[in-house]
Symmetry: C5
Subunit: 350 residues, 5 copies
């Protein structure tokens, strides 16, 4: 689940800065980066050890001159910062667009509640909401590992009460293994709508003729909300089939990795005549480790953002969205059960 | 409340530049940064004192060589400017989007006034406006500390006349503690609309049959405006539940903090043979303090922008927006009370 | 008024480059920057004079060492370019959005002309146009000094024929001193619309029953155009109440000012043994003055853009927009007066 | 006309790179830059000649020391790259927006064809298309030199068959010299529409009553498409009256020009003791010329983009758009002439 | 086909980084860059050989001094990174827009299914879907080499069952060789729609009068979806006729090529007195090759993105989109064949 830390930002004070940086573990840079920093430092120590204890003076000389040559060209030739910069920009923009394409149920639910009112129609309203959430799950299941884990197959959907056995059979008859099957529940929802438009007088003979009134705009508005809801989910799928070009990601990841691979050598302390204290400092290259945290951390956050449906701590909580949509949607379409407020008192007291 | 300073920019002159920079205290960089600059400078002085008076000449030597080593790598290894740059961009874009998602009441009010005219319907119009503002408050209360302070619970809403006791009971029956309850007043507003569509002939038997005419487009237009109003508030909530990834904020804040922590050492004046005058200058590192103001200030402004609903001086005045929406909305829907202009004189005088 | 110089860009040649840079005075960089460059250069000369003629050799020595220390840190510690860069980006984006929120009358006028045709309705059409322009003036008057100057109070509006005495009294009864009163004429316009929808059979008994036909979509389309027109003006107001955070502007302006304040010292020619010719060159720091023009000019252009409703040469010509909207709008809605073309000859000659 | 070179990019190979860079002349960087590079190089040679042959050794000494002083500050003080960077960004964004505001006829034509079907109505359909193209020409003629050249006055429009003599007289009666007259043909088109809505039973008594059926949504859809078509043209006009602030363009152009003016001096080969071969190299400053090509080229491309309606090779081919719109529009609205497909065979063969 | 590699990003670990960088061949940076790196390195070796074995000591001296002069100005004068940066930004934005203009069939299909229900209408529904896909193919065929390869002429379309012989003849009668003919199938689809609106009572006399009911909003909604589908394809075409200006692409490509051409000389190891080991290192300029991979790779990825319809591995799979649209569209419009679900069980089990 995404980590909510904005409360800490209500008042900007030094103390809150520290809290933001150090008080979170889940979703934090420390959790993301710790094992890599450790690995890198171990290798760094090994190379330092080999240089100091196993190489002859002559070999040390050759090694040093080789390293110094590298140091000259290091920053010019591995344009890590340049690469990373444009990557962050591109990824960030995509992340924002994904974010805008997660559907929320309110608009569908409100339109259904407004245009298909009446106690007698409650089942149809609830079914439309259910079909919406079902469609969203079917669509996102193909691209999100977390959702796949929760609903690995249609059985799980049946168990969760989102899919009925009869519906399941129909769903599985549709031969769309390679394409998203998320449009199927949309069709079911439209079928319900259609009954109101088409066969009102036959199917929905109800006790209270006024209650079941569906309004003239059933198709216009509800249809529009339902397809918009579905379109967003479909757009999320296309983001998955048309990712940021592989070669571009490769260049960025490779340049960051290569930069710090070279740092293993160029940031070694080559002078053998240093004091004991200097040696200690040289064996803990604080600033290089900081740089590692900043740049590799930055790259990893981008890699998390590039696939917002992944399993990382900071990815979208799609499962949360499903639960929320189901709950809020059912609440909204169920409001007709309570007695409508007879009196709407005015601001100044009736 | 956001600080309006554009008047100072009408004519760009040197004098106005100075006024903008120095004549404001509330919301200014000086107010944001003053305590931090003071703290940093005190620590800087302590380290300078220890270096000069407590360390032996030999220790000073070791300290100096250590610092010089740091100075070499400082700027390369702590890419503060790079990090901050992308952070400002990302945050600024989000801020602009939040800004666009604060709902203003005009469109709802105009549609209500246009499609539900008539003196007899004034209570319903006023109630719809009230429900809109109420929904906005309920939605934003969850994410804004200032609004939470003004309306800590539903009692405060009742006291403010925005919620009636009967409505309050209904509101509290909805079990949506974890999700926003802002959709409840929207449902109430739609219920009023529905009466016009559904039960016109029964409920609204009024003295003046023409006045209460509601137009054929009641649902089409008013419904659209109401849901759009609500959708914006709902979007603001999703910004809160899906913040900019924690790790990214951590990297940025940490890199700025670390940079100036290291500056405490690398910007020390290490030469002990300086004259009295040089010593004075060295003890007040003017340019480093300026850099501190610029970069930490920049980071803090970004932290303010990242959470536009916080309590800082430059955050959105949501409470102002509520008052404004209530006042303007009530004015607009109340215009029917005045006698409609009999004559609309033309531009050229009738 | 904004300066139209694109004609010079039709053919890109060296000569046109020079013309663009040097042939304009109004709205040009030279007009914006001249007095500041002069002031800065005078102070520079004073400091040079003091250094050369009033200081003893020893004081010169101290001064020089102090300056050299500044020179080392100058560029690193005052990140003018970095600050200015993001400022330009943020301001430019806002400027573009303001630009898109200046309403043009065409769409309203065309919808009115199309849906409320007929010679008999000409007064109502003209009034709607007038109310639109009036609303725009009332809204922008609060944020634009130029408009405030032209229409300082409602008297001026009456004199200009945009507001009638009877309307003025109604307008001033609305107690919205603190909020924009621009919604009032919108209500009046909607009232006219409403007559067509509501009381067609009573009020508008006209000689030619077919001519006054208003179409069935009066409310749907005209209402939408009118509220869209108004919404843009309202958005412009919100830009004014929610400016770019003060602290951010302060940092940028302060960093540019500080940079060139320090340049007064660091760009001094400190060597006293130079020849007469070198002295002359040193007393006219051409490149520093160029840098001043570029960076301060850039900052000032941004300050102009940040408040597009100001009084600078390159701000929006809102008064021009009002005149244009009134003229074009009246032309469009008045077209019915001419006899409609009986024959619409085809492309191939009838 | 814009140069289509994407075909060369289908397969990215070294050879194609060379082709793209060197095989085009029209619209190429070489055509844009050649004369300027030549001029610059000539002046460079003159200065080199004067330095080497006319100056005494002492004067050379003074000249050299002056140049070396310039070289130190050159790059810091003339922030060409910084200026150019933001200019490219701002200009590129505007260019994209202009691009999106060139109207294409398809949507209008399809709506006309769909909602005003029937053989009998063909003249009206064709006239609407003609009025659309006419409106576009009238609007763009004011801002595009190329269009002005093709249609210098209304005579040319009459000759091209786009305007009839009767229409011309009406058009010229409208007193809108200072504002765009592009709205006039839109009114004519709406007048045609209005007949269908208003006076169907009188004017359009046709032989085949079913064929002339116009559908109920004539106004809703066709009206919307026509005004959208017109709005885009109108937006293009506003881009012309509200250009990117002059001062900003001046700063950018001036900084690039100044940079290379200074390069005339700082890139001179000052050492007089060089061999014959070095002299030859020094007299052809290859890298500086490359830099000239890159930066001045970049500035000039931006200047072309800033005014997409200019006469440069890479500007919009508005005349092409007109021809295309007229042709495609007439084709679409004329499709009714052919006998409608009696049978629509299915995918699987009927 | 675009390479889906996001699955590797679900959990960000070192191992996955390596997999992403090295485990893909198709669409990878290695495939794009390999031949160019090889070519460059061969030339580099030739120059090294000539320098070492064919030049006399004196010539080596001249060569060296020439190279050193180049090295000084190399990075300043060939602003590769600056150029490439803005190119990536501009290209990336366009790529995103192209991506959004690839039409997906869902919305059209759902609207057709909802508004033209009934078993009897199945052929018309299927034909509309077919016409949509046909229009998309006709439009994209002009700009995509891959689609051109699959459907080189109308014969191929007939063979694929997308175009019937009778339709083909009509299509080829339309004289629009130079403009896209993609609007023709749209007209056919609208013709089908029109029948429902216009001649319902004559043509579609069916056995089950209720089943063939088309709803009142046939034109409003289905028409809008169809034109939106077509508009996207048309927009893709305009991207092709108005490319990013040639001169701009030339500058970028040329600057990258020139930079590495100069590197052939400036990165040579000029010192002849090196040991055997140094010689070996010097003959394999690892970091320069890395820089080549990064920068040329970056340029080539941009060149791929600039023309998303090309034949490169990472271009859009338009052919995939056609197949998908045809399959999904037919599924959606065919759902009426199955018996509609009699019972829609509720969430809680009926």
């Amino acid at each position: 689940m995404t980590i909510a830390y904005y409360a800490r930002l209500n008042k900007i004070a030094i103390w809150n800065s520290f809290m933001i940086v150090f008080a979170f573990w889940k979703g934090s840079i420390w959790k993301i980066i710790l094992d890599e920093v450790g690995t890198w430092y171990l290798i760094y120590l090994c190379i330092a050890g080999i240089y100091r204890f196993y190489l002859s003076a002559e070999q040390q000389e050759i090694f040093s001159s080789f390293i110094r040559d590298l140091q000259d060209k290091h920053n010019v030739c591995v344009p890590m910062q340049f690469m990373l910069g444009y990557f962050i920009g591109m990824v960030g923009e995509r992340w924002g667009e994904s974010f805008e394409n997660v559907s929320y149920i309110e608009k569908v639910a409100l339109s259904v509640a407004a245009f298909i009112p009446g106690v007698v129609n409650i089942h149809n309203r609830r079914n439309i909401i259910r079909y919406m959430v079902l469609s969203q799950i079917l669509g996102i299941r193909q691209i999100s590992a977390l959702v796949k884990k929760r609903f690995p197959n249609n059985d799980a959907l049946v168990t969760a009460g989102l899919l009925h056995e009869t519906e399941r059979k129909k769903l599985e008859k549709v031969p769309c293994a390679v394409y998203a099957e998320s449009f199927v529940p949309i069709i079911w929802a439209l079928k319900i709508l259609q009954k109101y438009e088409e066969a009102e007088e036959r199917t929905f003979k109800a006790d209270n003729p006024r209650e079941e009134f569906g309004g003239t705009g059933v198709y216009d508005t509800v249809y529009a909300e339902i397809t918009e809801f579905h379109e967003k989910t479909a757009t999320l799928s296309t983001y998955d089939t048309t990712p940021i070009p592989l070669a571009y990601s490769q260049i960025v990841i490779f340049s960051v990795r290569l930069y710090f691979f070279i740092c293993l050598f160029t940031r070694q302390h080559l002078d053998m005549d240093d004091t004991y204290l200097e040696l200690v400092f040289s064996l803990f290259p604080l600033l290089t480790i900081m740089q590692f945290i900043f740049m590799v951390g930055c790259m990893k956050v981008s890699s998390v953002l590039i696939n917002p449906m992944g399993e990382d701590d900071d990815n979208y909580e799609c499962n949360y969205v499903f639960d929320r949509n189901l709950f809020v949607g059912m609440e909204i379409v169920g409001w007709v059960k309570e007695n409508p407020a007879k009196t709407h008192p005015d601001l100044d007291g009736r």
